[in-house]
């Protein structure tokens, strides 16, 4: 299970594409075989000459007509492959894909403050963490975490240590997709007035998930740590997400 999700969320959409593409092919095969079965059901008695029956011919292999089967199979494959454009049109379009990266200036964000920016239509939390917050996050043993994986697109598959949740040299900046991994609400904790939950990080009011100062799930129904998008620092205070 953990393996299945480790490339999420970005890679998952790629897998979905592949899956849907295969779906068209499978439907083609299904339809074709279905039609072949029908092709064998042909009844060929001339009503002029006598009665006709629908089922008597099924058992007789001589009735199977390769031409009819081939024609049915061909038309079914064509009809099925036409499904793909109708499915694929709902995937993100070329314009949406092109907006995949965005740059932000972090200079105005003071220690202890956080900002929320938009990336791909999603909120991204960027917190300038205090030394205490970093310390608190580092102290937690990975084995005690509900989700032991870092969920970091920059370092996929690594354990959820605080170092793996940030970029080397920029540990004070925590950059995460601000969407609760439970059912997609936006957790509280970005402003001073917000409840930050039992672990001083974020708290999702929808179903009570508590995240710590490294954005890791500690308590509540959320299955995963908050996702970390791909990002790089262009300078000390300039960041590109995506």
């Amino acid at each position: 299970m953990a393996n299945l999700w480790q490339f999420a969320p970005l890679k998952f959409s790629t897998r979905l594409h592949a899956f849907l593409r295969n779906l068209g092919l499978k439907a083609a095969v299904l339809l074709a075989t279905g039609n072949m079965a029908c092709g064998t059901l042909l009844f060929d008695d001339d009503p002029l000459e006598g009665g006709r029956s629908m089922t008597a011919d099924v058992e007789d292999p001589n009735r199977r007509d390769i031409l009819v089967v081939a024609a049915s199979a061909f038309s079914a494959v064509g009809a099925a492959s036409l499904i793909w454009p109708f499915v694929h049109q709902m995937n993100p379009d070329a314009g949406a894909q092109a907006l995949a990266s965005a740059e932000f200036d972090l200079a105005p964000v003071q220690v202890g403050q956080a900002i929320t920016v938009m990336w791909r239509g999603k909120p991204v939390f960027i917190r300038h963490r205090t030394a205490e917050e970093i310390e608190a996050a580092k102290k937690v043993p990975v084995e005690d975490l509900p989700d032991p994986l870092s969920r970091n697109d920059n370092e996929p598959g690594t354990p959820a240590t605080d170092a793996n949740r940030t970029l080397e040299g920029h540990e004070k900046w925590l950059v995460m997709v601000g969407i609760c991994t439970h059912l997609g609400c936006i957790p509280k904790g970005q402003t001073l007035a917000d409840s930050k939950g039992d672990f001083g990080g974020w708290f999702c009011p929808c179903h009570g998930s508590h995240y710590d100062t490294a954005g890791r799930i500690r308590k509540g129904p959320a299955p995963r740590n908050l996702d970390i998008p791909p990002y790089t620092f262009l300078s000390d205070t300039k960041i590109r997400i995506g």
Binding site: L42, F86, H88, Q89, D93
Partner: protein, 435 residues
């Protein structure tokens, strides 16, 4: 025909369980597998199936396009451009939908002329035929509404011109026409409000067509299909089960039709449209030549042939409405034109008149074009109002085969056919096919 004995036998316990509760498989079996079809149907009878395909194709592509289309005056044109450029396979789906309307009309016109030639509107198929006329009207409305949606120059000015037809009612009651037009527009000119309601109705009407088609097919399965001889199915040997015989033929014709369809979609996506519709709607500039899509050209020619504004509008609507009355205008004792030596010529003349009206509709309304448009408009109506009743009454049909089976096997005309001796009383509506 529809109450031929059911041959459906559920093959499993589940099928039996279903059959006792909701016998859809039985209905499908009886109506589309074991349904008796005349054994002499030619390829012109495949257009019913082709039209079903067209309707489904338009519905499916349309629903998909509506996921990306934005029905506002500011964004409609941009969203269609966006569909073509950026939506995955958007260029294909948009071309399929735009070309699809032309293909739909192409098929429906073949279907209508087939019905006219073989007398498929005659008793007992009057309701079947009239439902067809309603389907045609609904198709025209849908096509017109849909043409407005890309919000190009042609879209905008087609809406302006066609909605303004109603303003001709001002000559009946002053203010009536203007009131209707402003009600249609939702403003004092064609605007975003017009576009938005047209989009709503364009999405609705195809489902109305779908319902009408179901009634149309129902009526067809009550009366049974007509056939090239116009004779009724009398014995079992006159018919073949729909599956596989008619289905196999339908499949060949459908794929051949799709070749033409795909040719336009993939090689000539703009051919059936108009270049001006690639210019965003501009309420300040009318394009120099505004013409409707090709499938409206004959009616457009009729509209412009009448010098009076209201008269032209009436003539245009009458040209379609008159179709609903031909089951009673045609006085011939036989159905099929195949056995009508005089009417045959008038039929081809009528077809020619329709094509000529189509050509004239694409030309500017001036000079010799107007003259010929008037001639052919006159013939269009004369064909229904004069030729059908008069020729039908005076003409002596050639000998009919004794039965469909005889026609297929090439036997000489039987004695039950209309004889050459003029024994059929003039104006007889009971066709000899029924004897």
């Amino acid at each position: 025909m529809s109450n031929h004995a059911s041959t459906y036998e559920p093959k499993s316990a589940t099928a039996k369980w279903w059959d006792e509760r909701l016998p859809v498989p039985r209905m499908m079996h009886d109506q589309f597998v074991d349904f008796p079809t005349p054994r002499n149907l030619n390829y012109l009878w495949t257009f019913g199936g082709i039209l079903t395909f067209c309707l489904v194709a338009q519905l499916v592509t349309g629903i998909v396009l509506a996921m990306h289309y934005v029905p506002t005056a500011d964004d409609a044109f941009n969203s269609v451009d966006h569909i073509r450029r950026d939506v995955n396979y958007g260029w294909l789906l948009q071309a399929m939908h735009a070309t699809g309307s032309s293909m739909f009309f192409l098929a429906v016109y073949v279907h209508i002329f087939r019905g006219l030639y073989y007398g498929s509107y005659r008793a007992p198929r009057e309701i079947l035929w009239i439902l067809g006329v309603f389907i045609l009207l609904a198709m025209m409305a849908t096509a017109f509404l849909g043409y407005s949606l890309p919000w190009g120059q042609m879209s905008f000015w087609a809406v302006t011109v066609i909605t303004n037809l109603f303003s001709s009612l001002d000559s009946v009651i002053p203010g009536l026409g203007t009131g209707i037009v402003e009600w249609l527009w939702g403003g004092y000119a064609v605007s975003g409000a017009t576009l938005n309601r047209f989009f709503s109705l364009h999405y609705l009407l195809p489902f109305v067509i779908f319902g009408l088609v179901i009634l149309h097919i129902w009526a067809l399965h009550v009366a049974g299909q007509n056939n090239p001889t116009g004779l009724n199915i009398k014995t079992k040997s006159d018919s073949l089960p729909m599956y596989p015989y008619a289905v196999a033929k339908d499949a060949v014709a459908l794929f051949a039709f799709v070749i033409v369809f795909a040719w336009f979609v993939l090689f000539l996506p703009d051919y059936l449209g108009h270049a001006d519709n690639f210019i965003e709607a501009n309420p300040l500039v009318t394009p120099p030549h505004i013409v409707p899509e090709w499938y409206f050209l004959p009616f457009y020619a009729i509209l412009r042939a009448i010098p009076d504004k209201l008269g032209g509008v009436i003539a245009m609507f009458a040209s379609i409405a008159i179709l609903a009355f031909i089951p009673w205008l045609d006085r011939s004792p036989v159905r099929s034109t195949k056995y009508r030596p005089i009417y045959k010529w008038f039929f081809w003349l009528f077809l020619f008149a329709c094509l000529a009206l189509g050509y004239l509709g694409s030309k500017p309304a001036e000079g010799v074009y107007v003259f010929w448009a008037r001639i052919f408009t006159a013939y269009y109506f004369a064909h229904f109002l004069l030729v059908m009743p008069i020729v039908g009454s005076i003409e002596t049909p050639t000998k009919l085969p004794g039965s469909i089976t005889d026609a297929v096997l090439g036997k000489s005309p039987g004695k039950s056919g209309a004889t050459g001796g003029g024994g059929v009383p003039a104006g007889a509506t009971a066709a000899p096919e029924d004897r």
